[in-house]
């Protein structure tokens, strides 16, 4: 219970803000870069994110979706209507130019997550490093978060499951979404299953707070937009090649 109470008082947010960087002179930040030891708690020193280049995404390809399902033990049950979807391939057509966009959409790991705002139990939460998760131990399956999410990123589990993978517990009556491969991040890996699987290199994973990371460099050079940016959710997943 300690952790949930901490979250609810937003204690983690204020306590960990002190660790984000050491100021040696006004305007100069000293960034300490070191991998987390296995017994060390995550901190807000990192903010994990994805950058997706929609121009590189192939319309017919679903490699990222399949890799995600393989990685997290998501198996077909009753088909796409009710099965869990952690990533969806979305096609958008611009009304005026008729330009067609293809992109994978998953939980955007919002810095201001509406799913967390509406969750009555505290089960939806944001880790110090920006990853938004569901604590299924306290999720009551009310699905408020699914209604609140502007990206349709979450799935409800309708059926009794078995043979879940050790790193990805999932079960009937709870809600789930992309975890940004949190089990890999906690092992110190610097990639996700989807990023690795993309044959066109359309996805980049990394630390948005580290100016030297590949994702930050790409963002600095070419920019990257948030889906539904007007909602000001400060998403951790950014897209290139979209107009708004």
């Amino acid at each position: 219970m300690k952790y949930i109470d901490q979250y609810r008082r937003r204690f983690l947010g204020t306590a960990s803000a002190a660790f984000t960087g050491l100021s040696i002179a006004p305007g100069i930040l000293l960034q300490t870069v070191h991998a987390k030891a296995v017994d060390e708690a995550v901190t807000s020193q990192y903010r994990w994110g994805l950058l997706i280049d929609t121009n590189l995404c192939d319309p017919g390809c679903t490699d990222c979706v399949e890799a995600c399902h393989q990685e997290n033990g998501i198996r077909e049950i009753h088909g796409p209507e009710t099965d869990a979807q952690w990533i969806r391939k979305v096609t958008l057509k611009h009304k005026k130019t008729e330009h067609i966009l293809n992109m994978p959409v998953m939980c955007q790991h919002c810095a201001e997550p509406p799913c967390v705002d509406v969750c009555p139990t505290g089960a939806s939460f944001k880790r110090a490093d920006g990853i938004v998760l569901v604590d299924k131990h306290i999720c009551i399956g009310c699905r408020y978060c699914m209604m609140a999410c502007p990206y349709k990123a979450r799935s409800f589990i309708h059926e009794k499951l078995s043979d879940q993978l050790p790193h990805a517990p999932r079960g009937k009556g709870t809600v789930e979404a992309c975890t940004l491969c949190v089990h890999r991040i906690d092992r110190g890996e610097n990639t996700t299953a989807c990023t690795q699987a993309c044959p066109n290199g359309a996805m980049t994973f990394g630390d948005l707070k580290d100016p030297q990371s590949q994702i930050s460099k790409k963002l600095a050079e070419h920019g990257g937009r948030e889906l539904r940016a007007k909602l000001k959710l400060d998403t951790g997943v950014r897209y290139q090649g979209i107009s708004s």
Binding site: K2, Y3, Q6, Y7, K36, V38, D39, E40, A41, V42, Q70, G73, R75, F125, R127, A128, D129, L133, D135, K136, H137, K160, L161, S162, D163, Q164, L165, P166, H167, P169, R170, G171, K172, G173, T174, V182, H183, I185, D186, R187
Partner: protein, 132 residues
């Protein structure tokens, strides 16, 4: 034909010897499955009374702080306590021969851990062809 069935019996008897005698039972007749490892993380008396507290503490550490150490991790319990029989099969969470259920059924304390957590080690899931 006869020789073939004799050979078959020779093969079958040792494999199923465990089934004939049944699983190990304690003085009260409750099933006591045999673990794989040499010693548990704590003595049996401590584990009997405290396993739920250890698991709860570890669960919150993993969930909120990303601390995935092995001690008191449910995955490690499963790796050690869910072992295949001679046919390569393991007891499933609902069976009275499953490590956790052997006690929990006897004590009439229901657990829902295995609604979400897999009830056998990753190797076994892979062997079943469900996972690459």
């Amino acid at each position: 034909m006869r020789f073939a069935s004799f050979l078959f019996l020779l093969w079958v008897i040792p494999l199923h010897a465990g089934e004939l005698t049944g699983p190990d039972r304690d003085a009260n007749g409750n099933i006591v499955p045999t673990p794989k490892g040499e010693a548990c993380v704590e003595p049996a008396e401590v584990m009997r009374r405290e396993h739920m507290n250890l698991l709860l503490h570890k669960r919150d550490q993993t969930m909120y702080d990303g601390i995935r150490t092995k001690r008191a991790s449910l995955n490690e319990c499963i790796d050690c306590h869910v072992t295949p029989d001679a046919n390569g099969k393991t007891a499933r969470a609902d069976d009275e021969t499953f490590f956790c259920s052997s006690c929990h059924i006897a004590a009439s304390v229901s657990i829902d851990c295995f609604d979400c957590h897999g009830d056998r080690p990753l190797d076994m899931i892979k062997n079943s062809g469900l996972q690459k």
